[in-house]
Symmetry: D2
Subunit: 333 residues, 4 copies
């Protein structure tokens, strides 16, 4: 950590600050410049409150020179993490296609969609049993019975599945789930994250609507520091001011996160755009950007979907897209 | 709800859509214009998925003409809601000053701060026992013992207190708390909101970092629709691109929310700016904007605060500010 | 245009509004619903101030059902526009690679870069002679002599070139330029846009940092309504809150703009990210998203570039990228 | 400027960078820490391209420790700047009320509004003759004749006036204007700013829709560095994601800018909200936040205003507001 002092600080005040920092167990390198003095703090600075130091009258600015995340930091884990889920490998060159409906609605629906996406080469099935909805009056998912239907679809097709957990108290119900998803709205639900650190399952962590990449990594760090290192990240669009699309897909997050972290990075073009006819081009773009996988909403009857039908592809549209994704992947090897 | 059809839709397609909408139990008023046809949907449109209808090939756009919130809608509750918490009234002309440290750190600290803010006329004490922190390595609050210290401070000063709940499983611990706070990061933790709908206590609901006013109201609606109508809203800054301040305080939210809803609206200038020296001017501005109360961080020793010291006022600074707030309030009656 | 009246409006007030609107030369279709009345305005509504009508006491909301842009609207021009610039075609399936340095610095530099990108298959050269810089103390370009150097590079390589115009008063100097660029900061410099409507040259219009797609199209409309229909759009990143990248590249803008407009859409991954090592993945992603061309910064000596060296590729890096772009393009035909 | 090197940089690479920086005329203080080396650059670093240095393979991060603005920096000008315009003082404790219509429409209109706001104690008149409009089809102002009408209103009332300049080529027409306004969309029209540096008149510079405070100050610096130090800043709302209000008024910008700069800071609550009924509370809030003045749209007949009628107060509403503003100002002295 580096602390830049203001111009004209008295030696007394400087000495006082240095000794306060030394009391925190740090060693201080002083570099007196013509216009300012710079303190270099050496040691474990994780206990130093940057904002507080920055607010001191004699301090101009403070800068952390090491990232505050360790478990998910590529510096300490140069090799790509390969996550295994229900026999499927994701990351480290293993590209995963995750497809399925927004919500599980019935056995007929989820089995039909699972069969269709399996036939188109999907690696995992997605489907929500517990759905976060902005309005208390909207369909919130089938709940526990929805999880059972996902297991039936898995049995029928062999596809492992990903599904969202919203409430720590439901954790027991998720014992036989392949991958647990943490939704965008819960990205900073820290109690939930900590609890998932004790689970022996891969976690798919979605970026919040207005969260920075550093915050996403810090949330991954919560899970990993609690014991579970099988974390995958997912970019699903951030909120900006334009109103033609639901969110703004931030594809530069893919190479940037791959540089900062060794965790796999997936992209969800369905939630990012909210418009089915934009999904294929964004899915191809994400593939070309180097994503480790895609998560795409597919529904056998979007017009009657109980949730997010507007952003769901039909199985034939998904099939055509999956072929193109494979073509681009082949160019990238 | 209004559905605008695209120019040149065939009568067949139009008929098909109308009968599909009628099957949802709606009556449809058709208005054929020169350039487009407009359908007016009459009846309970809460089950209609706007995005889906908008995605249909023949539809140009869809517009909801009634707000999706009811319990917190001023249209149905023209009178200001007055919330009572530990004998203190908030809203409907009752202005509340809530002050205290970010975190409860020790009996000595919380009692000292409580006495100081009480002497300066504060109505409620604030203090966190469970703290959401971006990093898993930061101080996360004292937990349950922190709640006990808040009760001691209450006993010493008579000030009711507000404190944040992060985890549904901790609800029992909050039985003797005066006001339960839902933090910005949990604004859309719907399971938590629903659970708080069954609690017989006032809830202080903070706006999320990138949430719209409508989303804030929908979250209030979650609590109220589950049975608890004692909800207060709190503006605490939204995330924008500037980096001089931590967040951007959106004060127009105050009169806008007061127009849309009858719930009291508080403002937290401490989290909104993250900088203690900006807190007084933003507190005065919020008062002049017509807020129903303020929530301000005060610490007896900011330099050694375990959390957010940079945005905390010292007791003497708070005292000076409280006087000015009262002066402005007097002008507003 | 549709005007939704509030619930409970008196017949008198309704009649008054209708007659006011009729005086503007409009025909009004009235649709009385159970909960609200909807007025459909037929005729030329371009003179109606939506915000004003929306502010009337009896009005709930107003919605325009036709886009306010005509010249750049695909509805009226279903065929892709193909722009020809110095013998090169852009749009309608013609993919253009534009490459070159941020700033023209010397004859040696611009000719060397032009030769290198030509050898790698570039279609046009880019290079700034007049540079918008945030600070008045930064290098602002060579000015008029820079334009002469671009002409020398064109003579040496046969590459037509694109360069930015910042000031209407410089227009005469641009007589022999192939494509005039309007930079992001001038996207809403309406006097400049209007003037470019009288020029017989293609215009490359960059999206502003915080502008919506509709605003971008309205700015194109300014140029086209003044007489020059050879306009190309360019997405170059918008401003959000993350600080790892300079801007956030909004690739969904590509298919969305192609749906709304027939104008070619280019993507500039260099300014969008500000980081050379992210440029290749974003260039490939933009290609896969269906862009009509790319605009990429290339410098023969980035370390000594006078401007934006951090986001410039070296010629060998550009060459490797151009090959991959071609591979992806081949998949897309 | 501080350059932090990555962990494990070889002595050779380090030496090479240091000598490159020394060649730029800088002295380098090297501080070798346990985990990283920090270089302190002493001398004139204004020629150093931060982004470029940051992009070097061996560099972790770069930080400027002195602000890049000088003329508008309070560090070098501790006293508040008092700007005099047509006999009215603004700044340094002199609070200015600027009021008038969005657009000048007729002699009758501008004289009537000028008289009304003068009677309510306004210090300056505002009114647009050249209007930036998003659509080329909207009313763009009366142009030069509008300026003549403003002079008539000034002659009738004695109020000096502020009006917007959009085009350098119109500068001659502005010879007898009291204050020249640079609108939000032209905040980074650098040629315009430079030209205004040669003008002997106060300039009112509005913050752009998505510009940081630093960028606003750099734009002021452009004018001041060219010779005209009579610059006033104006906060008028920034663009965020909420759609209930037109923009988000950033009132913390007021005390923050006053800390960074000695220039007067005005607030325009009319453009910030776009809704007349929110203007009074935001005007009072801005006053309580310590602004040096307000700029408010007033129209004698908002319903028939040719521009922005929705955000204009009627004269009687303005009069009531002006009284309350004065009450709050009295508290602040």
């Amino acid at each position: 950590m580096i602390v830049v002092l203001k111009h004209g600080v008295t030696p007394d005040k400087k000495k006082q600050l240095i000794s306060w920092l030394q009391n925190l167990g740090l060693r201080i390198h002083v570099s007196d410049g013509e216009f300012q003095t710079v303190l270099g703090l050496v040691g474990d600075t994780s206990s130093v409150d940057m904002d507080l130091v920055e607010s001191l009258e004699i301090v101009d600015s403070v800068k952390r020179v090491t990232e505050p995340f360790k478990f998910c930091n590529r510096k300490f884990h140069p090799e790509d993490l390969v996550v295994e889920a229900g026999g499927v490998k994701i990351g480290g060159g293993n590209f995963a296609m995750i497809a399925g409906p927004c919500s599980v609605e019935s056995e007929e629906q989820i089995v039909a969609v699972a069969r269709a996406v399996k036939a188109s080469g999907a690696d995992l099935l997605r489907g929500g049993a517990f759905k976060p909805r902005t309005s208390p009056y909207d369909f919130a998912g089938l709940g526990a019975p929805g999880l059972e239907l996902l297991k039936i679809a898995r049995a029928e097709t062999g596809l492992p599945f990903v599904t969202e957990l919203m409430n720590i108290m439901d954790l027991d119900l998720f014992a036989d789930v392949d991958v647990i998803q943490v939704g965008a709205r819960n990205m900073q639900n820290y109690d939930l994250l900590r609890e998932l650190g004790h689970v022996d399952k891969p976690i798919l962590l979605k970026r919040g609507l207005a969260n920075t990449l550093k915050e996403l990594l810090m949330s991954a760090e919560y899970i990993m520091a609690s014991g579970n290192e099988r974390v995958m990240l997912c970019e699903r669009g951030i909120r900006t001011f334009d109103d033609y699309t639901r969110n703004t897909l931030d594809l530069a997050a893919v190479p940037m996160l791959q540089e900062l972290s060794h965790l796999p990075i997936l992209v969800d073009p369905s939630h990012a755009t909210g418009i089915a006819r934009l999904v294929p081009s964004m899915a191809l773009a994400a593939t070309a950007a180097g994503a480790d996988g895609l998560m795409i909403e597919v529904h056998n009857d979007p017009i009657h979907a109980m949730c997010d039908g507007a952003q769901s592809l039909r199985p034939d549209e998904y099939d055509a897209l999956a072929r193109k994704v494979r073509d681009i992947r082949e160019l990238m090897i």
